[in-house]
């Protein structure tokens, strides 16, 4: 059934009362805006009653699927459970209603939380100092690349190239371009890891750095990482850690020990802050002592009198990447999460994320092509090439999974795998859920033989059936047109 747009709900003639009645001395003040600048026609916004509004959005919420609805094995996104206590804490009045330009004396709690989160993230990653300003992973990447730029400029030559594996997230090459570098792809070897020989050929005096996700986007820990970082360091480049997959190795291995100079974390993945239907996230950047002078301003510091303060006095800082200090509300949740779990809890989270992934992978290996069979980390990639021979694509499998009450995995990524289906169960799913998912995947594999039509026309049980994305891109209806 089509749901009305909010604009199609009949408008009230006059808006509801929102504001208090104000004294005459105020209400009598004339609105004196120069005629040239004055709005003549009010913007067409909805005008509906509160009950109607609630029903409208309530109806919409029912057409959406979140982690709280069901299993959400979206590879590379770490859709783990979002603890409710963290939501409650993040809404404490004295966290919500604080202004970024209040006196430092009045915001000691906020500064303490940021300072301590910085310390916790340093301990987890082995880095020396973090900035919490970037709003998302990609924003962190950009910040890290700006630091690489500043580092090389100080040495007298910006250099030209950033090397990225061909299996990398799209944000990596896009960030590289925004930072004024060329993205140079290094091929993966037959095990899905960085091809050392090819890497060696690409490294030279123009190599500014290398960006690497480890475990990588295929779900494998690159055991050559020490060699790789040494090779990059030997030509004077820096090594950047894309923290999208840290969830597999928390407390087990520190990026700093692998030789990384700059690290970004995705608090909305690894540290359980909810993804909000596409954000807000948070992408803090951690660096070595040598690079910390380039960090964004302000950093949060603690003085010898036990007071926290914002430090703007950093002449080598690359500046700012957003107004104020970061997505503070997200930082609160990540901080609470780390305090809840402690070292033991983080370790257990990582181990069980890896256990869940391997359990699924082995079960599915009989029914789907597994490009790389070895033990994986927290996620793995299967390929629908066996099904493709029968005309079934990864997309069809994804859509059919919806009928079983599951959110589909990531599809068509990484690009180096044909008909890729990338599955990340996370640690917060139990064996029962995994077994149900396995059952569904087996049934789908069988359907691709016996009843391919049911896959091609899936989903069947959702409120809306398969949507025509080509039509959307051709017709381009991007807003409601008032009659």
């Amino acid at each position: 059934m089509n749901d009305r747009l909010i604009f199609q709900i009949p408008y009230l003639e006059k808006g509801k009362q929102i504001l208090p009645t104000v004294p005459n001395e105020i209400s009598s003040i004339e609105i004196n805006i120069p005629d040239n600048l004055k709005r003549k026609k009010a913007p067409e916004l909805p005008q509906i009653s509160e009950p109607q509004l609630i029903r409208h959005y309530n109806k919409l919420s029912k057409k959406n699927f979140g982690v709280d609805t069901g299993f959400y094995p979206l590879g590379s996104c770490t859709m783990k459970y979002n603890p409710k206590i963290n939501e409650e804490i993040s809404r404490l009045e004295n966290f919500v209603n604080i202004h970024p330009y209040q006196d430092e004396e009045d915001i000691q709690g906020a500064l303490q939380l940021m300072y301590e989160l910085d310390v916790l993230l340093c301990e987890i990653t082995g880095m020396d100092k973090f900035t919490l300003q970037p709003s998302a992973g990609a924003h962190g990447e950009l910040t890290g690349l700006f630091i690489i730029d500043a580092y090389h400029r100080e040495k007298g030559n910006k250099r030209k190239n950033i090397i990225i594996p061909d299996s990398a997230h799209g944000t990596n090459p896009a960030s590289v371009t925004m930072a004024g570098y060329n993205a140079v792809a290094v091929d993966s070897d037959e095990n899905g890891k960085v091809d050392l020989k090819k890497l060696n050929e690409l490294l030279d005096k123009e190599t500014a750095g290398l960006m690497l996700t480890n475990p990588n986007t295929l779900g494998f820990f690159d055991e050559n990482i020490l060699k790789i970082s040494k090779m990059v360091h030997d030509v004077g480049g820096l090594v950047y850690y894309d923290g999208a997959n840290l969830n597999a190795i928390m407390t087990i291995s520190k990026p700093r020990d692998m030789g990384f100079d700059i690290v970004h974390l995705n608090l909305h993945k690894t540290f359980s802050t909810p993804h909000g239907g596409g954000g807000p996230g948070s992408g803090p950047i951690g660096v070595t002592k040598e690079l910390s002078k380039f960090l964004l301003i302000p950093t949060v510091e603690l003085n010898n009198k036990g007071r926290y303060y914002l430090n703007y006095d950093k002449k080598d800082s690359i500046g700012k990447v957003k107004a104020f200090y970061g997505n503070f509300n997200v930082l609160i949740k990540a901080y609470s999460y780390i305090l809840s779990l402690g070292a033991k809890g983080l370790k257990r989270a990582s181990q069980l994320a890896v256990l869940n992934a391997n359990y699924l992978k082995k079960h599915l290996s009989k029914y789907y092509h597994i490009p790389y069979p070895e033990i994986c980390m927290h996620e793995f990639v299967i390929s629908a090439i066996w099904q493709k021979e029968k005309g079934i694509r990864a997309l069809d499998i994804a859509k059919r999974l919806m009928d079983f009450g599951f959110h589909p995995p990531t599809i068509y990524f990484p690009l180096i795998i044909n008909e890729a289906i990338m599955i990340e169960p996370t640690e917060t799913e139990n064996k029962e859920t995994l077994d149900m998912f396995i059952k569904a995947m087996i049934q789908i594999a069988k359907e691709s033989d016996k009843n391919p039509e049911i896959l091609k026309s899936a989903p069947h049980k959702t409120q809306i059936k398969r949507l025509d994305e080509a039509k959307a891109a051709r017709d381009l209806i991007l807003k409601y047109e008032y009659k």
């Binding site: 604009f7 509906i48 919420s61 924003h139 925004m178």
Partner: protein
């Protein structure tokens, strides 16, 4: 406390299915040299009771603006948020969802984003809208990037009257690519038009003008944007979305791109984040826009539905040639804005803007009547204004905080020539009594002097 649901028995079963004895064996391929030997030095795990206690304790070291009378603004504001906003954005189907790649399971978010795009186009008068950037500052930087990619020119003109942190962000973004950021000086609190003419060259990619500007002043954009006509330089307006209830949409003055910060629309101050940045523009620039865009389509049964569209602009497809690297954005904050705008509605938005204006002007008039307080600029303003107060900032802060008053913001740090100039923001939440207390307090303080 952790959130793993596994029983020991299940773990054993799963391990034995894999032919592995211990959990640690899952990590056999990580070289010993880089394996963590000792347990991390993190605090002992806390129970929910302890956690809440500890975080409440920390939070109480902050002073909530709700326990004070706040006149703080400068890009982050204490506006009213209707209770419906939190109710809706707390729905788990919304806040625990990922980016709506799988549209059949994401119609709720997608439809509300489509509604949001419509509302932002209505407010700004532009043809199309994306579904958010990180904040106002990054929306300025992304708009500048967009202009550079449209006209391939390498100089950005930006008014000195825009938020100083926005300019700082723009410079950080542009420095590695050696793109010149030229700040157009101000004259009496607004952009100096003569300086635009003087500095407008062939290489100028865009001109970025705030409305209202950092001081609350209304910029004569009706005279500024026409200066660009006949050039290839793009006109970018960075606007306060609430002010657009009273002000002509930037489209009417020929704006090519309109950006700004959306915190004002239903999002709390939250120490400056998360907020969201919006971006609307002319249709001809559609394929150059950064970020997600939602389009309407139909399903196989002919029902209307919504999908992310024009994804070929984005990083996950176009990679190094993408219009931007943005992936996660600020969707939940956009949903808050969408609910906010739907709730206050056409009349309500106007009334709120009107009351902000009136409150600010009431306070301004009373303040400048006090001896020792003078207007700084002669411009029309919306809900922020600057006055000279014959007190230094430490003194002023001390006097006001005794009465529970927060703000104003001292401008000297950002604009060294503006000594003892103070920026006040007045929202619809401020009452006459609260403003009178401020007036009275300053009156007394300056009389003693």
């Amino acid at each position: 406390m952790d959130y793993t649901p596994h029983s020991n028995k299940e773990i054993k079963e799963m391990l034995s299915f894999l032919g592995i004895k211990f959990l640690k064996d899952l990590y056999n391929n990580i070289p010993d040299k880089i394996k963590q030997k000792k347990e991390l030095k993190l605090p002992e795990p806390l129970s929910e009771i302890e956690l809440l206690g500890r975080l409440k304790f920390i939070s109480k070291k902050n002073i909530s603006t709700d326990n004070r009378i706040s006149f703080l603004g400068a890009g982050n504001y204490d506006h009213f948020i209707p209770s419906v906003v939190n109710y809706i954005i707390s729905k788990p189907e919304f806040y625990t969802a990922y980016t709506p790649y799988q549209s059949e399971l994401s119609q709720g978010i997608l439809q509300s984003m489509f509604e949001y795009q419509t509302m932002m186009c209505e407010l700004t008068g532009m043809d199309i809208s994306n579904i958010s950037l990180y904040d106002g500052a990054t929306s300025v930087a992304e708009a500048a990037n967009m202009a550079i990619s449209i006209n391939k020119k390498k100089k950005i003109l930006i008014s000195e009257t825009i938020h100083p942190e926005y300019r700082q962000v723009l410079k950080t973004y542009m420095k590695p690519r050696k793109i010149e950021v030229f700040e157009i000086p101000m004259k009496e609190g607004i952009t100096d038009k003569g300086q635009i003419k003087e500095n407008l060259i062939d290489e100028s990619s865009c001109l970025i003008i705030p409305q209202p500007n950092f001081f609350g002043n209304l910029e004569p954009i009706d005279e500024i944007f026409p200066i660009l006509s006949g050039s290839n330089t793009l006109a970018i307006a960075c606007v306060n979305p609430l002010s657009l209830a009273l002000l002509k949409p930037p489209a009417d003055f020929g704006a090519d791109i309109v950006v700004g910060d959306g915190q004002i629309l239903g999002n709390p101050q939250s120490f400056g984040g998360p907020s969201f940045g919006f971006l609307t523009c002319k249709k001809k620039y559609l394929r150059k826009t950064p970020g997600r865009i939602v389009g309407q389509t139909v399903d196989s049964a002919g029902n209307i539905g919504y999908v992310l569209t024009l994804q070929t602009r984005e990083q996950h497809i176009r990679r190094e040639k993408a219009t931007s690297n943005i992936c996660s954005n600020q969707s939940l904050n956009v949903l808050a804005a969408c609910v906010y705008l739907s709730y206050v509605g056409r009349d309500g938005l106007y009334e709120i803007a009107e009351l902000c204006y009136r409150n600010a002007h009431y306070l301004f008039q009373k303040l400048v009547a006090i001896k020792g307080i003078n207007p700084t600029f002669n411009s029309k303003f919306f809900n922020e204004f600057v006055v000279y107060i014959d007190l230094d900032s430490t003194e002023l802060k001390k006097i006001l905080s005794k009465k529970g008053i927060l703000g104003p913001i001292c401008l000297e740090e950002w604009y060294p020539s503006l000594k003892k100039r103070y920026l006040f923001a007045v929202t619809e939440k401020r009452t006459k009594d609260e403003m009178d207390l401020l007036i009275d307090t300053l009156n007394k303080a300056l009389k003693v002097k």
